[in-house]
Amino acid sequence: MSTTGGMFAVLKEKVGQVLVPGDEFCFGAEETISLSESAKPERAVCGPGLRRSGDRLVVMKSGVLRHKPPLTFWIDSQQKRYVATKGETVIGIVTARAGDTFRVDFGGSELASLSYLAFEGATKRNRPNVQVGDLVFAQFLIANKDMEPELVCIDGSGRANGMGAFGAGGLLIKVSLGLVRRLLAPNSDIRLDLEQLFPCELVVGMNGRVWVRASSVQQTLIVANLLQSCDTMTTQQRQQLFRRVQQGAL
């Protein structure tokens, strides 16, 4: 979307504020294009929660406006129901085998398909060792509202890159999408706090599913319960909780 510099100023002003659906950033006729500025228009990148409608930028979800320099704006919102999006990595549960594909449940409205050949080193003769009931960490190849979603366990160059079937010995829990994004953020507070507790293995799927494994059953249960309860806590409350667990460490 091409705009003038004025729009950015208004958007940047609102970064960090709570916006609700229906809020508009309306520009165009009121802004005068300065002849002294460079003729090249700047493009703002609308992320999730923002939508362009004519010459207006409309907010679609309620949440906090975030900004990533230089040009990206999006709304940070909270929900539990996952909608499949291309390129996102999710944890799926294999429910059935249908011909050459697996039917995988990822928590969406329909089952996704995962082909036998979409694993690293798989050929027609060399089938992957995946059974019904296994967990798979895969990414979406096709994910839109008109077609059946399709998952793959390899990236563009044919390598697994961490994806594939997994799961022995851990526990799968369901959390909200906001927590998952916070866990996957580059400098995540929650991950740092968890590291202080005890060593554990985490697989985080963008569909709200987290797989946890620690050295003992008790520790796994502790981490799982902590993650589920620290969803709606503020930073202080969460750090207090983690400290209490550390002191009463079992």
Binding site: I93, D105, G133, V217
Partner: protein, 465 residues
């Protein structure tokens, strides 16, 4: 070739398909199943199942409970008599009791009728389908009936009004609001608490006449309940080796079998039911019944306390009911405390606001009476009754703002003078034609159409940030 494949692969007769589809027929067992687009619950993965079983072997439960621990039970009552909500951890159930006068059964002419109904709606879990009688629903209904009806916990003879003709039918409807395991226990607690809470209308029989008093005329009377049967559920794992009381939803999906014991606090067993086909030893069943008696006495005390609290709240006239039982300090609760408002300088502020505000739209007092016997309602531009203006002026000057009156007068005067046109020859009939507004009366147009103009002006102010 393709037909040969078809004969070998299929075991169940299928509708004939066109030839080109048969080539793609897969050699899997049975015909391909159509995708049913109902809400299915999330399948349980193999690793979850293994983990839960391993944890149970180490005597650990998912939420940190001990083997014989119940989840937190919370009982609350609604504003109506006979409405009860029970929270068993995250499992949530509502029971509602109602009554009706009906003809009794032929075989039992002097006993009332009890009717139980459990509703499993998709509200509770995506696995439940609306309208369909699933296996679980039939099982729960049967268990609740055996627990409450066969144990004769309610004196049905006291429900008789006229023997052979009119008896009370007490109907208990239990609705599942959220399924997190152990629906049976929650339903039984809710049903018996609701029955204890319920009050039926008072009835007087005088000879042939039966009078049913409404709650305002005479206080409704409670049902006569002999004892409170409560069901306790035990889940078994690894062919009966491990036992858990009050399984949550994930534990229920992994269990081998379920034992349900319904008991009252006098240690009388009302009903025992075992499902899942597991083999239980005598000692196991005896141990379970001992555990059940302890749990039942705790739960019965909880119910009595809840009933007592509700009774005192109602007597004291305090607010009772579901809304009061909701916790207020939660992030999802929408309650705002009463905030004190400073009212010392209200009058000055109000007059200041009035001065700054725009003039209110001139509305005619409705209905306007220009002449006795004639009424005018709404913003009339022109008076078509052909009455004199002077009389209108007299009527207007009483009681209203002078501003409004003068504007209206200007309206009337201008309109009547310019717009009245006689087009017929007849003197007796006066035909008046209404012309559209003339542009020089711009301000009057604005004033009379002020109502329509208001939203657009509001829009403009909003857009200025």
């Amino acid at each position: 070739m393709a037909a040969g494949k078809q004969r070998r692969a299929q075991t169940v007769p299928e509708l004939p398909r066109p030839q080109h589809l048969l080539r793609g027929l897969r050699l899997t067992a049975g015909p391909p199943q159509p995708e049913i687009h109902t809400m299915k619950e999330t399948p349980l993965s193999a690793c979850e199942r293994d983990f839960i079983l391993k944890a149970i072997e180490e005597k650990k439960r998912l939420d940190g409970r001990q083997t014989y621990d119940y989840r937190k039970i919370k009982i609350s009552f609604g504003t109506d008599y006979g409405c009860c909500f029970v929270d068993l951890g995250q499992t949530r159930v509502m029971a509602q009791v109602s009554c009706e006068l009906v003809a009794p059964k032929e075989s039992r002419p002097n006993e009332g009728i009890m009717f139980f109904n459990i509703e499993l709606s998709p509200l509770a879990s995506p696995a439940f389908e609306q309208g369909r009688q699933s296996e679980l629903s039939v099982k729960l209904n049967r268990q609740l009936e055996r627990c409450l009806r066969n144990s004769k916990c309610i004196d049905t003879e006291s429900l008789c009004v006229v023997s052979g003709e009119k008896v009370w039918q007490i109907r208990v409807d239990v609705h599942m609001l959220n399924n997190d395991g152990n629906l049976m226990d929650a339903s039984s607690i809710a049903a018996i608490a609701a029955l204890c809470h319920f009050r039926r209308p008072d009835v007087a029989v005088q000879g042939e006449e039966v009078t049913v008093y409404s709650p305002e005329e005479r206080d409704p009377i409670p049902l006569s309940i002999y004892h409170m049967p409560i069901s306790v559920s035990f889940s078994f794992f690894q062919q009966g080796t491990y036992l858990l009381v009050d399984p949550c939803e994930r534990e229920e999906r992994v269990m081998d079998g379920l034992l349900m014991i319904a008991m009252n606090k006098h240690r009388e067993i009302c009903s025992i039911q075992s499902s899942g086909g597991i083999m239980l030893l005598k000692e196991q069943v005896m141990r379970c019944s001992k555990i059940a008696s302890v749990k039942v006495s705790e739960i019965t005390e909880l119910i009595s306390k809840a009933l007592m609290n509700d009774k005192t709240a109602r007597k004291a006239g305090g607010r009772c009911g579901f809304a009061e039982s909701m916790p207020q300090e939660r992030i999802t609760a929408l309650k705002v405390d009463e905030t004190p408002v400073e009212t010392a300088d209200v009058t000055e502020k109000a007059s200041g606001i009035i001065k700054e505000a725009e003039a209110p739209p001139p509305t005619a007092p409705s209905p306007v009476v220009p002449v006795p016997g004639v009424g005018q309602v709404g913003l009339g531009l022109q008076n078509t009754w052909g009455v004199e203006e002077e009389e209108e002026l007299e009527e207007f000057s009483s009681g209203d703002d002078v501003e409004e009156v003068t504007k209206m007068e200007e309206d009337e005067r201008k309109n009547t003078k310019d717009d009245v046109v006689e087009i017929l020859d007849s003197e007796e009939e006066e035909v008046v034609i209404l012309h559209p507004e003339k542009p020089q009366k711009a301000e009057n147009v604005k004033s009379s159409f002020h109502q329509k103009g208001a939203p657009s002006s509001k829009k403009k102010t909003k857009q200025k940030p």
